[in-house]
Amino acid sequence: MELTNISFKKYRGRRLDPDQLAGHSVTYWKDVWRRIRKNPTAVLSLAALMIILTLSVIGPIISGHDLSTINPKRANMNPSAENWFGTDNLGRDLFTRVWYGARASVIVALVCTLIQTVVGCLYGGIMAHFGGWVDEVMMRVIELITSMPTLLITILTMMVLGNGMTALLVAMSITSWCGTARLIRGQIMQLRESEYVLAAVALGASPFWVILRHLIPNTFGLLMLTIATSIPDYIFTEAGLSFLGIGLQPPNTSLGVLISIGQQTMDFFPIQLLFPALILCVLVLAFNLLGDGLRDALDPRLRQ
């Protein structure tokens, strides 16, 4: 570069505003989404999840078979062009039944997660909002519930309420909201202590605004993570309860019911156990991997 006298004249051009200069401001959520997309496992599990969910909706329709039509002549068939996953001991089409069961399992898990999130947020919010003895008492209740193995409470509740769908939903979510409530309470307490919220309140921000602007963005990520890890847990528990004869029972269908039926004929027709078990595992695996990807995306520090 050639230096001339002009080079040493006072610079009159626009100088970049140092505030703009410092840091590429990519918003947090865009960043999270970008990290998830860059994570092949997360993308793959998202795709697997989409396929399973789609099949659980359209599977029973495209199979050309009915859920409960019994056909003793075609009992215990191996997979064929007619029955893609074979048939069960009553000649019912397994492809239809498996996807129907997957649909039921996913719906149960989603509803339970919804209950857990809503109850947990409300309970945690009330604890943090009132504080003092209300908080103390409500915290004691949580401690009490969590000082007993979860499955025992679920089983006892199922005993009281019977084997129906509603009973199952109640029994499975009766303890699970505690963790969410603690999380929400902790987040609100922490936020309340934080200086920028103090500043916002001091400047006259309404509580509603504080919640909208600070609490939700801060808590959303953790909540997403809880939800992502809760869903496979519920799918597990549902399957387990059905297997033990405590959860949903035939004629209801779910992956758990199908697995427990499959187990009875395992020695002769392992295919009937294989498909529901396989789909259960893939479903749970996909949710777990997605949750892992989400955790990494939310907290890149952990990847180091």
């Binding site: 570069m1 230096l3 001339t4 006298n5 002009i6 080079s7 040493f8 004249k9 006072k10 610079y11 051009g13 100088r15 970049l16 505003d17 140092p18 505030d19 200069l21 410092a22 840091g23 590429h24 990519v26 960043d31 990290r35 890149p300 180091q304």
Partner: protein
């Protein structure tokens, strides 16, 4: 004087999601036997990264010392050190004190053990001897009832005491080089002076060279032999302590000096501060990094990075104002 440490053209980058952060961009300096070199700059200017590079604490795959960087200890190429050499060098030849002693001390290990493990690794002496040595070290750094404190955990001590423990650890094996990375920033002002004094007296006693890293130009005045001013990963000015304090030439150094509050200042105006932020090191500007904040910014400043201009007596500064062509238009600048 013998050169203990030579740093030439040091480039260090950190790989993050947002891109490659070029924390240190071509830093060169020497450390001589027994001297105190101060590296001064605001946070994020690369001074701590420089310190960590010297201790070999830049870790792959996120941190990377770029090829072409040279680090020599007693004439030996540190980049070719193997694990054994490093183990001998770290703790034995060179040691480091961090800013936050609470974070830098293992919370679940007794402080006695944290000192003796340093000793037993480098000198094959018995546990009992090491214990005695650690105790006398604690005594030396001014910790009362050293014997009892050997069995304390870091959280049981005050901030000043913890920093003294760090110093005891650092001096445990009589290192030739001590890096003090903002050793007093986290402490009360009254304790700051005590800690600096102690580092100085231990340094004299053991003839240790010290690299003192700080953002506070005020504390280095009495201690440093030479001063290095860093800005956005580059050395902008270096020279002896007197030169920097009495004849600063770089606008950034001048600004730093003006930012030191003085009791004797007659004007009752607000304290001086440098407006704006340092540039983003993911995409550093092609010109002088200080151009955007500089009161004397010229056309050339935004176009090209200035070379080091010699101001005599080992005093150099990287500023276009020192260019011969700029000198005779100096009046316009001032």
């Amino acid at each position: 004087m013998k050169k203990l440490l030579e740093v030439r053209n040091l480039h260090v980058s950190y790989h993050t999601y947002a891109g490659e952060v070029q924390s240190v961009r071509g830093v060169s300096f020497d450390v001589h036997d027994g001297e105190t070199l101060a590296i001064v700059g605001e946070s994020g200017c690369g001074k701590s990264v420089t310190a960590r590079s010297i201790m070999g604490l830049i870790k792959a795959p996120f941190g990377e010392i770029k090829t072409g960087s040279e680090l020599r200890y007693c004439g030996e190429d540190m980049r070719a050190f193997d694990a054994k050499k490093w183990a001998h060098y770290r703790g034995g030849e060179a040691s480091i004190i961090f800013q936050d002693a609470l974070a830098a001390l293992n919370p679940t290990m007794k402080i006695g053990k944290q000192i003796t493990e340093n000793i037993t690794v480098h000198e094959h002496i018995k546990k009992k001897e090491a214990n005695e040595r650690a105790e006398s070290l604690l005594h030396q750094v001014g910790i009362p009832d050293a014997k009892q404190k050997m069995n304390s955990y870091p959280h049981q001590l005050s901030g000043g005491m913890r920093q003294r423990v760090m110093i005891a650890i650092a001096f445990a094996c009589n290192p030739k080089l001590l890096i003090a990375d903002e050793p007093t920033t986290a402490l009360d002002v009254t304790i700051q002076a005590q800690i600096l004094d102690m580092i100085r007296s231990l340094q004299r006693e053991k003839n240790t060279s010290v690299i003192l890293i700080t953002h506070d130009l005020g504390i280095v005045a009495n201690i440093a032999t030479r001063i290095l001013i860093m800005y956005s990963g580059k050395v902008v000015e270096k020279g002896t302590s007197e030169e920097i304090f009495y004849h600063p030439v770089h606008p950034y150094t001048k600004a730093l000096l003006r930012a030191i509050p003085k009791l004797t200042d007659p004007s009752k105006g607000p304290l001086y501060s440098i407006s704006g932020h340092p540039p983003d090191l993911i995409d550093p500007p092609q010109g002088c990094p200080f151009a955007a904040r500089c009161p004397h910014c010229m056309n050339v400043c935004v176009e090209a990075h200035p070379e080091d201009f010699d101001c005599g007596a080992g005093h150099t500064a990287a500023c276009w104002l020192l260019h011969p062509l700029a000198r005779h238009i100096g009046s316009e600048v001032e």
